[in-house]
């Protein structure tokens, strides 16, 4: 029996029928990895919800303290395994700020392009899982086709589809060969936009989808700030916080794009913010390919980096929200403390408040909108 707890939601004392506790266990078809949710139900309505996490806790922060800074890049790839370049870039920015390393112009353009491409693939994966949660098998299969095409570009230029280990302190590993860039430019300009229009036709306009999403689990900006929610979920409630604009890094201030926000704050708003973000990111990647200057991609850095003693906290706009790297260094080649502020960790902590009183099938519509990655939550 989940005790009557302000954080979890009101418990109907006068519930005549006995409520059952349902374990949406770690091994569940639509639980995005190993996420465990204890739901207390009366009939189909959720009285109280208690997420249990930690099933994928691999102790990355402890392991990072036993590796050199270059070797930690391998662990950083596996934090949020759907948007790897954002993790790598945030980690590189933290170390570059700590060790005062300059990054050449072309490397900044390359980093921005890769981050926006990975935002597209991450939102495609999210779109597929929203369709899967709501019972449609087709959106996930359609979403994987453009994703595969972008993975081909990643593999051809960085060596691996999912775990590139491509960024280095002071730039990127090696330059991108222009033929691949041209092929990707052609794809992004036309085929990706057609694919996105097709997804809109398949899901966005669908009355069944709208009836399930409209007005579901609304959230105001103050609630979002109170729970620490950031990223597309926060922008869906009307806030304009976007770290790419507030604390400009890379070449975001030189590209023409606008951050997508919405005012309704419900599940449909979160959906439309992410769908528009995909188009914005594709547009940005196109501009990066067109306006990228020639030049060096990597400054000379000692192979075993020994940053000066000190502490740094860098905030980065990852696909799920504000990704923070808090690195404490004591001058040795290994970090003294390696802390990752995971956006999905905070977004999922708002789940019990959002789904108290919802139905089981509504719970999955809400859960699909949170777009969590267990590897980043459990670290």
């Amino acid at each position: 029996m989940i005790e009557d707890h302000p954080r979890v939601g009101r418990l109907q004392k006068d519930a005549v029928t006995e409520s059952i506790v349902l374990n949406m266990g770690p091994q569940h078809p639509s639980m995005h990895g190993v996420f465990h949710m204890q739901l207390e139900l009366s009939g189909e309505t959720i009285l109280a919800a208690r997420p249990v996490i930690g099933y994928l806790h691999r102790g990355i922060e402890k392991l990072a303290e036993h590796r050199t800074y270059a070797q930690c890049m391998v662990l950083v790839d596996r934090l949020d395994y759907i948007s790897q370049y954002c993790n790598e870039w945030a980690y590189c920015r933290a170390i570059e700020r700590l060790a005062r390393i300059e990054v050449p112009e072309r490397a900044e353009w390359l980093r921005t392009m890769y981050a926006e491409l990975v935002r597209v693939t991450s939102h495609l994966m999210w779109f597929g899982s929203v369709g899967l949660d709501l019972g449609g098998w087709t959106p996930v299969i359609y979403a994987f086709i453009p994703r595969e095409r972008i993975f081909d570009f990643f593999e051809a230029t960085t060596g691996s589809r999912l775990m590139p280990n491509y960024l280095r302190f002071g730039g990127v590993k090696e330059d991108v060969d222009p033929a691949e860039m041209e092929a990707l430019h052609a794809y992004l300009a036309k085929d990706l936009i057609d694919a996105l229009d097709e997804f809109d036709g398949l899901v966005t306009g669908n009355e069944i989808f709208l009836s399930r999403q409209r007005g579901l689990a609304p959230m105001t900006v103050d609630q979002a700030h109170a729970w620490g929610v950031t990223g597309p979920m926060l922008r869906a409630c009307g806030s304009t916080r976007d770290l790419r604009i507030d604390t400009p890094y890379g070449v975001y201030d030189r590209l023409d794009w606008e951050s997508c926000t919405d005012t309704r704050g419900d599940a449909l708003a979160r959906y439309s913010v992410r769908m528009r973000e995909m188009r914005e990111s594709a547009k940005m990647a196109l501009q990066c390919i067109e306006r990228m200057p020639a030049g060096e991609v990597r400054t000379k850095v000692a192979r075993v980096l020994r940053p000066p003693e000190g502490e740094v906290y860098v905030r980065h706009e990852s696909t799920r929200g504000e990704l923070g790297f808090h690195i404490v260094s004591d001058g040795s080649p290994k970090p003294y403390r390696f802390r990752v502020r995971s956006p999905a960790f905070m977004n999922v902590s708002s789940l019990p408040h959002l789904c108290a009183g919802a139905k089981i099938s509504e719970f999955f519509a809400i859960f699909g909108g949170i777009d969590n990655v267990m590897a980043e939550i459990d670290r």
């Binding site: 990895g33 994928l56 102790g59 086709i145 595969e148 589809r161 267990m374």
Partner: protein, 190 residues
């Protein structure tokens, strides 16, 4: 199929039935996805349009372990998750196989020394196929599935002693002994 498994001498009828059953089993291996980390993305990509595992009959990812044949472990097994994997494996009906996908499932991979990780899936479950890679390419997993298919079709089941109904991991780590024992209690051999 107790008849076939307990037969001593193969005769004509049993071998034909056995060949037929092996053909059927190998062509319809349904997955039970324990969906844990990065490799589960590549497994989902394998179900997608480009690699399409349904071509060889194993396109159905059954949600409930009762209706699946192959347990896929696409990622690390943490100590907190280990008893749940053992419970899912025990819930699967008998001719069942396990595929350890990726370095995390084979040997703990990048997180070998961590305090919360088991050193690979074979410390917890009897693994049939190891697929190296980090993450494993969809084609590599497809090749692993083809190898499992060839083995299922190749090994005859005549005289194969029936496996004991409940799998108990050899060196049961103390911290989750209660979980598996409690599960064993409620599921006597049937």
């Amino acid at each position: 199929m107790g008849l076939i498994e307990n037969a001593e001498r193969p005769n004509f009828i049993l071998t034909t039935i056995d060949t037929l059953l092996r053909w059927g089993r190998s062509h319809s291996l349904w997955w039970c996805n324990a969906g844990s980390a990065c490799c589960s993305l590549e497994f989902a990509a394998m179900g997608g349009a480009r690699y399409d595992m349904d071509r060889i009959g194993s396109g159905l990812v059954r949600a409930s372990p009762r209706q699946s044949d192959v347990l896929l472990i696409p990622g690390p097994i943490t100590k907190k998750m280990a008893p749940i994997f053992v419970r899912v494996y025990n819930q699967m009906p008998d001719p069942k196989w396990v595929i350890a996908m990726g370095s995390c499932a084979i040997s703990g991979g990048a997180f070998r020394e961590s305090y919360s990780m088991t050193r690979g899936a074979d410390t917890v479950l009897p693994v049939d196929v190891y697929v190296p890679g980090c993450p494993v390419r969809p084609e590599a997993l497809f090749y692993g599935l083809l190898k499992l298919r060839a083995r299922v079709r190749g090994t005859s089941n005549i005289g194969l002693a029936h496996r004991e109904p409940i799998y108990v991991p050899p060196d049961l780590p103390p911290e989750w002994e209660a979980e598996v024992r409690e599960f064993l209690g409620e599921h006597e051999a049937c």
